[in-house]
């Protein structure tokens, strides 16, 4: 019985680790000074999911390591940056994916949220992958317009599940749009 419990626990822990965003590389825009950079650094450090933050002050790049088992919410990262007075220029996140078939407009439930792939070729992904969040407020206006042309789905504009999302996602659910 003990062995069964241990095996089940191991399986569960493996599933947990699959569904974990491990790290992120965030580029902030609108700043140059170290005082401004430090305000972002302190706001990121305070997020419950964040384990540590490293910074390249000159490039305004923040490398974030996340705690295991704590849900990572990209919107919280964006709010930390905008609350400090600046904007997200780019957010690349690294996670371990289970075997997943993706194509343009595939929606997946992953790491506690729904992610919608944009501008990708049909393929299978597995293991550690880095993806870029391309929602409004995570990319420049020009990039947002460019990605908008790659999908007919309205959820990209609103960031929430619309009538277009037919894969069992409740209307109004936050959907993060990503690309590889």
């Amino acid at each position: 019985m003990k062995k069964v419990i241990i095996i089940v626990a191991l399986i569960l822990s493996t599933i947990q680790s699959f569904a974990q965003i491990q790290s992120a590389s965030l580029t902030a825009s609108g700043l140059t000074c170290s005082m401004c950079s430090k305000s972002i650094f302190k706001a990121l450090e305070k997020l419950p999911s964040v384990k540590s933050v490293d910074v390249d002050i000159d490039k305004s790049v923040f490398t974030i390591q996340f705690k295991e088992g704590v849900k990572v919410v990209p919107d919280d990262i964006e709010k930390a940056v905008t609350g400090a007075g600046f904007a997200v220029a780019s957010l690349k996140m690294t996670a371990v994916f289970p075997d997943t078939k993706i194509a343009k407009d595939t929606h997946i439930d992953f790491a506690g949220a729904t992610y919608h792939f944009l501008n990708v070729e049909p393929q299978s992904i597995s293991g550690q992958k880095t993806f870029t969040v391309v929602d409004k407020n995570f990319v420049s206006t020009a990039e947002f317009r460019r990605f908008k042309k790659t999908t007919d789905m309205k959820c990209y504009e609103s960031g929430k599940a619309e009538g277009c999302c037919t894969e069992g996602v409740a209307k109004g659910t936050r959907i993060y749009h990503i690309t590889l």
Partner: protein, 271 residues
């Protein structure tokens, strides 16, 4: 001639530097706000050559600053001086700044903000110059635009100032203006460090600002030049040292020459 030479020297200093600029100006405010949920403490001391009284006047302005949200910040301020009296607190004020436009790109931004200041003051009213931030009871409403471009910052502001009588029976002299237009033009440059490697590096900035006032009714004006230096320690504490000198002017003022020393400390994410 001396003034032109000084202006030329200051302009050359800023044009020839190849390092980076900042926008945390010492005499004017930029359109950017302090971080949300943060508090700041700012202690400003102006040393003024008050020729009318034949004394060196100390003006002390302690401020508490609060980043309410990403768009709104508030200041509460005390006003003290020793102009013709022993040193004492003579008034208080509030200042609010709201960011109304933001265009951020990596290492650059263009921002606009609206601000309002209101203060009461019980001090004597000796001068034609209007200054809600330190000398007069009244209010000020204005706009600021700031451009940061590859670490070079340029900022301008325009405001309308309206005053009333000061407290304790200190009324405005008959014929003196009650309204004024204020304007500023500021630029700043980061001198050190040449390259960032840590938040512990001390930053050294040089600023050059022009501060002016125009009173339409009596048709009086002044324009000051204000060079200053700024040290930022541990990316959290500012020490500002600046001088303000009148380039041209036609009104009676508390001082046409003054020096400023300020210490400011930010407490990030404490609220």
């Amino acid at each position: 001639m001396k003034k032109i030479k000084m202006l030329g020297f200051c302009c050359c200093l800023f044009i020839t530097q190849k390092s980076e600029a900042q926008e945390l100006f010492n005499f004017a405010e930029p359109a950017s706000n302090m971080p949300a949920k943060s508090l700041g403490i700012r202690l400003t001391n102006n040393v003024m050559d008050e020729k009318h009284l034949g004394q060196t006047t100390q003006q002390f302005l302690p401020e508490l600053m609060w980043g309410v949200s990403k768009r709104l910040m508030l200041h509460a301020e005390g006003i003290a001086n020793n102009s013709g009296t022993p040193f004492r607190f003579i008034g208080a004020g509030v200042y609010a700044k709201y960011r109304i436009y933001t265009q951020d790109k990596v290492h650059r931004h263009f921002r606009m903000a609206a601000f309002v200041r209101a203060a009461f003051n019980n001090g004597h009213v000796h001068y034609q110059e209007l200054e809600v931030n330190g000398m007069n009871t009244g209010g000020e409403l204005g706009f600021i635009a700031t451009q940061l471009l590859h670490k070079q910052a340029l900022s301008a502001s325009l405001s309308y100032e309206q005053i009333g009588n000061n407290g304790n029976g200190n009324t405005i002299h008959t014929g003196n203006a009650l309204r004024a237009i204020n304007y500023t033009l500021s630029t700043g440059r980061l001198i050190l460090p040449k390259q960032y490697s840590s938040y512990k590096q001390t930053n050294f900035n040089l600023m050059l600002e022009f501060l002016g006032q125009y009173q339409p009714e009596p048709g009086l004006h002044y324009l000051d030049i204000a060079p200053s230096a700024q040290f930022i320690i541990h990316s959290q504490t500012r020490i500002d040292i600046g001088f303000r000198h009148q380039l041209t002017g036609s009104m009676d003022r508390m001082a046409t020459n003054s020096a400023m020393l300020r210490v400011e400390h930010l407490l990030f994410n404490v609220l």
